[in-house]
């Protein structure tokens, strides 16, 4: 027997399996980052001194990174909309831009990290830097994970478009949901770490 509702929606829930699956996954991610934000709060209120982010970190670079990541979210949703419009060429373009934006984000992050390492600002220096590296490092891993999936759907995974376009569109939508979540986490990380 075939597994039902891999593509079509189950009538009573109005959802397909993948959609619920990705949302459950994101729910657990909320708890993962939630616990780290809780740790940030506990460390900060327990600290005798807590540096303002912009006295250590590079705000202009992070602002650029915020803009890059938000833009990649728009290109991601445009990639999905292009598939909805049956325009596979546009999808390739927007999905490619999303991946490039991800690369750009990681590049800037690399510049930031190496400047920190160069000045001896390591996690062992103080708890602010420790939570900074943990949060941004884990977020960076999520960016890499999202890019791997997006890259797969841009390249070899796109073959599915020919045989089962609806299924492929769903996949792009679900990987998009993950990508937007990564963006959303950054939207909170940015003020918490850099601006406060």
């Amino acid at each position: 027997m075939e597994i039902p509702f891999t593509v079509a929606e189950r009538p009573d829930t109005g959802l397909n399996n993948g959609k619920i699956g990705i949302w459950l996954f994101l729910a657990s991610e909320v708890m993962l980052f939630g616990a780290l934000f809780a740790s940030y709060l506990m460390l900060r209120i327990g600290a005798t001194v807590w540096p303002r982010g912009d006295s250590i970190l590079n705000v202009p670079l992070a602002t650029v990174n915020t803009i890059v990541l938000i833009s990649s979210s728009v290109t991601m949703v445009m990639a999905w909309a292009s598939l909805k419009r049956n325009d596979f060429g546009k999808f390739r373009l927007f999905q490619g831009l999303t991946i490039l934006a991800g690369l750009c984000f990681l590049g800037i992050k690399y510049v930031e990290y190496s400047a920190k390492f160069h000045h001896g600002l390591l996690p062992s220096k103080n708890t602010f830097l420790a939570i900074y590296f943990t949060l941004t490092g884990l977020h960076g891993l999520h960016v890499i994970g999202g890019m791997v999936v997006n890259g797969y759907l841009w390249g070899p995974g796109a073959k599915l478009w020919k045989t089962d376009p609806e299924h492929f569109t769903n996949r792009v939508e679900n990987s998009g949901l993950f990508w937007h979540f990564v963006d959303l986490v950054w939207i909170f990380l940015f003020p918490v770490l850099y601006l406060l």
Partner: protein, 99 residues
């Protein structure tokens, strides 16, 4: 889901959301330059971040028109999120020494 006209309308919304997100980013960075006292700065930064996060979740992630089941799951998650965020904090501010 919707036809092409519907998608076109959605795409216009995405562009609008994008512009708002950019504007809010610039606003929050600009405010941070004034070096407000910490409580005020935290409040403003969190409000702006929540608006931005809300826009991404509502429009890019289509939460504004999602199924009831997803709302239930996320509601449960949000409750747990606040539990892990706030209960350790309250416990921290209630040390036995105060009594």
């Amino acid at each position: 889901m919707g036809d092409h006209a519907d998608i076109d309308r959605q795409v216009r919304t995405y562009i609008l959301v994008f512009v708002s997100l950019m504007a809010l980013t610039i606003i929050t960075v600009t405010i941070s330059r004034f070096h407000l006292p910490v409580p005020a700065a935290v409040t403003v930064a969190l409000i702006v971040a929540c608006i931005k996060g809300g826009l991404v979740a509502s429009y890019f992630m289509h939460l504004i028109s999602e199924r009831k089941l997803i709302y239930w799951v996320l509601g449960f998650t949000v409750a747990c999120f606040f539990a892990v965020l706030l209960l350790p904090l309250w416990t921290h501010f209630d040390p036995i020494l105060n009594h």
